[in-house]
Amino acid sequence: MPFIPHTEPDVREMLAAIGVEAIDELFDEIAPELRTGQLDAIPEGLPEMAVTRLMHERARAEGDMLCMTGAGAYPHHIPQAIWQLVGRGEYYSAYTPYQAEASQGTLQVTYEFQSMMAALTATEVANASLYDGASALGEATLMAVRANRKAKSKRILLPRSVHPRYRAVAGTVVGNQGLELVELPLDVETGRTPLESVDSAGAEGAAAVVVPQPNFPGCLEDVDALVDRAHAAGALVIAVVNPTSLALLRPPGEWGERGADIVVGEGQPLGIPLSAGGPYFGFLCTRKAMARQMPGRVVGRTVDTQGRTGYVMTLRAREQDIRRSKATSNICTNQGLMVTAATLYMALMGAEGLERVARHSHAGAVALRAALAELDGVEPVFDGPLFHEFAVRLDGPPVAEVLDGLAARGILGGFALEPDYPELGNSLLLCTTELHTEADRAAYVKALRELVAG
């Protein structure tokens, strides 16, 4: 029997000990009419051997493309050590560290993770993960409403330059709690959020203003000014950042006069494979003073009865298992194993490695944008500074067709912007990382030239 170790005598003796004749008697409290019949749609069990073959076939049916699409999920090199360690049974098959003394491995890793994330974002505390970047934004808006006791409304200003999926998810998450998400426009000239829109959309009395950096169309916002305006109006600032970019860009804890109040983002670039969209993890960092409003778990350092250092989950009274309907969030299971991977990633890369990753990613995007600008029928949508993504507009064939053409050449060639940003026209969002070589970029330019000219 797959995964069940019982022998026939075991079953017989166990039933005898219980005092029943057959396993089925153990279900005798269940009304007979409720009992399941045949589960016809479920295939017969296969030995591991057959499933192995099946999954290898399915895997081969996946393409193996040169990926130049980012749009929220980024191909980076993942040092091979990471997943060999993360897959160790002691990490992989442990539960949430409820018994701290028997979980110092997971707990210390989480503590180290929090330390690294706080350092990277220049904030004071980090939680132990949320589901992903998008849901983290949703949680952050709820947190801001709780934390900003002076705010007169549950209004959140949410720039259009934030990832459309993040806005959608935030809408789903907060939609039922009376929060008002007010969209700030996108300046189609600069690709940024107009500073004045913060005031005109009602920062005054708002609970928070969201500030993305880099923003979704690949531009860099004037974060200092946005933060200061928001703060001046009494709103908190929720930063949405790409963690890799923080090796190059000013960390949100240092934006403007006082820095962002809550920082969220997608942790995937930190050692997590693309893996069709998940599991990734969302991170959330904040000021120590606001730690009690955080959603999700957090690990703290303490001592044992002998004075030795140890780690425990702490600030537990915020959580659903203790506070139930009054918890700061309903999150329970989080993305712990991904956090383990990210901790290893940051440990292996260090500041130097992360900076190199960021610089290569950036330099590649700058070079590619310049090369594409040379092509007839292709034009960068924005010309301001960027991190590692940028938009180009195509004169000729519709983006959807061009993407198909690129796919036929083995290239996952970008994200079509028009469906979410009609104002940007027939345009495409592209990404490069340290993985992309000059030859990769040249291959992309060549393919695009053929498709746009052809």
Partner: protein, 491 residues
């Protein structure tokens, strides 16, 4: 082991200028085209270590964990059963790992085929019409489910329903999720036998009732016998029934939530379908619905049309409650569950329910025979059951916590303690179907031995654990001092 236990954090191994040389990309030139105002000034305080140092530190750290792979782990409500290794290996084939979430369907029919079959199989085994794999965990599944209940009432113009009923023994996520969906929570008492108090339910329902959230078997480890009456009462009042699938393991293949009258459910693939807990996550919390709630399912969902798989998204599902995460949920977890299910098959699934129930009832009877007190002695155990140590506590002073900590010394992870709250000094024990009878018998022996220790010298328990990397940890101090990060200045 022994004297070499360092207690160091990774930062302690760092030295300025050290790096994992081969793991870094090559040096890169200073970017010239970023305005200074946007540039980072100092470097973040990340570790500066070699690959060997990182490997050694995190290998050693891992050894400080209990896990299924090293210990019996009868943590009630958590279904800590074996995580088959094939699930991990096959979900991590390079092509799956390399798939971008926005890859067009044409670039990856293999992955989509797995997702589609998984949807179908989960729908069948729960008796639901259709399943969405979008939610990332049980709690997010609850959120999605209750959101669908809300969407359903809203669509009917029925805006007066403001309350969700939740039994007092329910898992904390249930009330928390209901609140996140904008509902008030009304708690229902549990009767002496562990069932929902039907009179209280009748008194509680009304035009304000949006629905009820139930786990069945419930969190007190018994099957809710009045489920059909409950369904009738709630449905008659215009409410819907939400099924929290965290305990499905006990009845997998034996009873289906759909047949019990539930309208919407979530599953915890990281419990019933054996994906790993990973020291806290990730999980996956697919939701399933009856016909009536179909339009509201969260997106994306995989469909199979004309011999090809593709995602259903906003345009296909205009009434969907929306997206749960930016992409398609915890895809890698879903692949693991798919592999597990294919290995189990129909018969294997039924056996999960049978043998998890057998193990729990056997363990319950053995403990009872050894003189331990059960919370619900007249009930069958589901896949778990509750022991109360109140008697031992009164007699010797050892608490459930003390027992639990002492178990760690004996090499078994402690059961869930002090949950549900309504039973004093309780342990919620869930052996799961993948443990042997010998392991269960050994567990009985351990509990008996600890009780004997408690009667002889309660201090042994109170000072436990004695043999782990640390002795008992000071949680109060942790919360008071809030030392949540290492920093170069303060360590």
């Amino acid at each position: 082991m022994g004297l070499h236990e360092t207690g160091k954090v990774i930062f302690d191994y760092g030295r300025e200028g050290r790096a994992a040389g081969a793991q870094l990309p090559p040096p890169a030139p200073e970017p010239s085209d970023l305005p200074d105002t946007l540039r980072r000034r100092g470097r973040p305080a990340l570790p500066e270590v070699s690959e060997l140092q990182a490997v050694r530190h995190y290998t050693r750290l891992s050894q400080k964990n209990f896990s299924i792979d090293t210990n019996f782990y009868p943590l009630g409500s958590c279904t800590m059963k074996h995580n088959p290794r094939a699930c991990n290996a096959l979900a991590m084939l390079p092509q799956f790992l390399g798939r971008h979430p926005l890859a067009p369907p044409g670039a990856g029919q293999g992955f989509l085929a797995c997702m589609h079959e998984l949807q179908e199989i989960l729908a069948e085994v729960t008796g639901m019409r259709r399943v969405s794999l979008a939610p990332a965990a049980g709690a997010q599944g609850e959120f999605a489910g209750v959101s669908m209940i809300r969407a359903y009432h809203d669509a009917r113009g029925d805006h007066e329903r403001t309350e969700i009923l939740v039994p007092d023994a329910a898992h904390g996520t249930n009330p928390a999720s209901a609140v996140m969906c904008g509902y008030r929570v009304r708690e229902l008492p549990t009767d002496r036998n562990g069932d929902v108090d039907l009179d209280a339910l009748r008194a509680a329902v009304g035009p304000q009732t949006a629905g009820i959230m139930l786990t069945n078997p419930s969190t007190v480890g018994v099957f809710e016998r009045h489920i059909s009456e409950i369904a009738t009462i709630v449905h008659d009042a215009g409410g819907l029934l939400y099924y929290d699938g965290a305990n499905l393991n006990a009845i997998l293949g034996k009873v289906r939530p759909g047949d019990m009258g539930f309208d919407v459910i979530h599953l915890n693939l990281h419990k019933t379908f054996s994906t790993p807990h990973g020291g806290g996550g990730p999980g996956a919390g697919p939701v399933g619905v009856r016909e009536t709630l179909l339009p509201y399912l969260p997106i994306p969902i995989v469909t199979h049309e004309g011999g090809r798989y593709r995602w259903l998204e906003e345009a296909d599902c205009p009434h969907s409650i929306g997206r749960m995460t930016a992409f398609a949920g915890n895809a890698g977890v879903l692949l693991r569950a798919y592999v597990y299910i294919r290995m189990l098959g129909q018969e294997g699934m039924v056996r999960v329910g049978e043998y998890s129930t057998l193990n729990a009832n056997y363990l319950m009877h053995r403990l009872q025979a050894e003189g331990f007190e059960l919370a619900f002695p007249r009930r069958r155990a589901s896949h778990e059951f509750i022991v109360t140590l109140k008697r031992e506590h009164d007699a010797y002073g050892g608490t459930a916590m003390d027992f639990a900590k002492r178990m760690l010394d004996y090499g078994v992870h402690a059961p869930t303690m002090y949950f549900p709250l309504l039973v004093p000094e309780c342990l919620l024990i869930e052996p799961t179907e993948t443990e042997t009878r010998e392991e269960i018998d050994a567990f009985v022996d351990i509990l008996v031995a600890i009780r004997e220790e408690a009667s002889r010298d309660p201090e042994i328990l109170h000072e436990a654990p004695h043999t782990l990397p640390v002795r008992r940890l000071d949680e109060v101090r942790a919360a008071k001092e809030l030392h949540l990060r290492w920093s170069p200045e303060t360590g």
